[in-house]
């Protein structure tokens, strides 16, 4: 048994040294990033019979069934979201160079908005049709929302901590914020953090549809997710996973790791305004963005890109735009903003993590992806939204926002390693 080694708390920098993702536009980070730069949509029509009677039949599903990418026995006891998390974790860990780390110094923080909803609902069908004796003994570990985190911790033998923040559509970003805290408190040297979600099933779709939160543009699925555009009419449910390997600067430098970007600061606030409606002035969101910059020791003048939460709902995009304008002030017109969800749809609990990856790559490469379907600007938005075609931008500091039902606001500040 290894003795627990306790490093002193440090206030130093946190480096992003590995990336892994499965998204509706790519089975890994490289294909996702290329697809986003090219403006490719992952949204399609749900054609299975079980969706036929729903008012909304649009979704952004991952390209390859994750079960096909895993060993059969390995896949059968994991919920789809756990499978996606496992694939993203393997990619991220390999991308980080498969570091040799004391298990007691590796933590895992993976959030999920809903957890294994599809397992829960499918097994309820089994119970009603075949009785309790036919229910899978794996139903509980497959449906619990900490399942993706636990799956990744088992895979990496991570023994420092395994945590699973649940904060709806902010879960992925919330996990990264918690990971930064763990590293700065000296509780781990390496944290694998992010989010996973796979709940495309008639019930969650019907629920979001009843809230009138979803786009109904069935005649043109690839145009359905259109953040900031004047014609937006709701978001598109997506699924996927995104995981980042985060390390203390000392640890990353000590092993000669590549640095994509620095996870420089996180701002986390709560609206306490309404269960699902955004606070209309965007005050809580703006506060989160300012806290992230403060934590990063960065000034608003250094901000060179904002990756918006930008789900494509009529009111949500306006509240976020207000928040961004209030933070950027006179620099609003000089800072490009883009919306990953215009192509991936809304990955719910995985969204903030995938968008943190995208933002890190934007900082690293000096390129920002377009906002697909941004055809007609909405006067109430009034931001420099990057339309069709990628843009080359040297970025010192970028912000990526995530908000969730329940009033959760998380903003992450990501800075160039240079």
């Amino acid at each position: 048994m290894t003795e627990r080694t306790v490093a002193g708390a440090h206030t130093g920098r946190v480096f992003i040294t590995g990336l892994g993702a499965v998204t509706p536009v790519g089975d890994d980070v490289a294909t996702t990033w290329a697809a986003l730069l090219a403006g490719t949509s992952g949204v399609g029509l749900l054609t299975d019979d079980k969706f036929a009677d729903l008012p909304v039949r649009l979704a952004a599903q991952v390209i390859t069934d994750p079960a096909e990418r895993l060993d059969r026995v390995e896949a059968r006891t994991l919920d789809r979201g756990q499978r996606l998390a496992l694939l993203a974790a393997r990619e991220a860990w390999a991308d980080a160079g498969t570091p040799d780390v004391d298990p007691l110094r590796i933590a895992v923080v993976v959030g999920s908005g809903i957890g294994g909803a599809v397992t829960l609902l499918d097994q309820w069908d089994v119970l009603r049709e075949h009785g309790a004796r036919r229910v899978s003994p794996y139903v509980v570990p497959m449906l619990m929302p900490n399942g993706p985190a636990a799956t990744v911790a088992l895979e990496l033998s991570a023994r420092a901590q395994v945590r699973a923040p649940v904060s709806a559509c902010a879960s992925g970003a919330d996990a990264i914020a918690l990971a930064v805290d763990l590293l700065r408190q000296g509780l781990a040297d390496v944290v694998v953090a992010g989010g996973a979600e796979a709940c495309i099933h008639p019930l969650p779709l019907a629920g979001f549809a009843q809230m009138r939160a979803l786009s109904t543009r069935h005649d043109d699925p690839e145009a359905a997710s259109r953040p900031f555009d004047a014609g937006r009419d709701g978001f598109v449910m997506g699924e996927g996973a995104g995981l980042l390997v985060l390390e203390t600067e000392e640890h990353a430098r000590g092993r000669g790791a590549r640095c994509y970007a620095e996870l420089a600061g996180a701002g986390v606030t709560a609206d306490a305004h309404h269960m699902t409606a955004p606070e209309p002035t965007g005050a809580g969101a703006a506060h989160a963005m300012r806290l992230a910059l403060t934590a990063a020791g960065a000034d608003v003048d250094q901000v060179g890109y904002v990756n918006g939460h930008a789900t494509s709902t009529p009111v949500g995009d306006i509240a976020e735009a207000q928040a961004i304008r209030s933070v950027l002030g006179s620099r609003t017109g000089d800072v490009p903003v883009s919306a990953t969800k215009s192509m991936t749809g809304h990955l719910l609990g995985a969204a903030g993590a995938v968008e943190a990856i995208v933002t890190a790559l934007s900082v690293h490469a000096g390129r920002v992806h377009p906002t697909r379907n941004y055809d007609k600007p909405d006067e109430a938005i009034d931001l420099d939204v990057v339309p069709e075609g990628e843009r080359a931008v040297a970025i010192e500091v970028a912000l990526t926002n995530s908000f969730g039902f329940g009033g959760h606001n998380v903003s992450l500040a990501i800075r160039s390693c240079q």
Binding site: D71, R72, V73, R76, T77, R133, R134, S136, P137, Y138
Partner: protein
Amino acid sequence: MTDAELMTGLADIVNEITGIPTADVTPDVRFSDDLDVDSLSMVEIALAAEEKFGVRIPDSELVKLKTPGDAVAFIKKAGIPA
């Protein structure tokens, strides 16, 4: 159904659920200690065996089935039509 046929059928179930090669599922290996089959997988194996062989394996009996040989003997006794 002969013992050999029951053993083959059981080995297929164990392989389907755990990935353990059918050749390793021999009468005297222990599910837990030798094959590393956990308790949740044992529940699934029992459910699949119930379905395949048309028997009922109560929990009180399941815990006594330490080896594939025990399982075959139980299934036979529980009344597989010859």
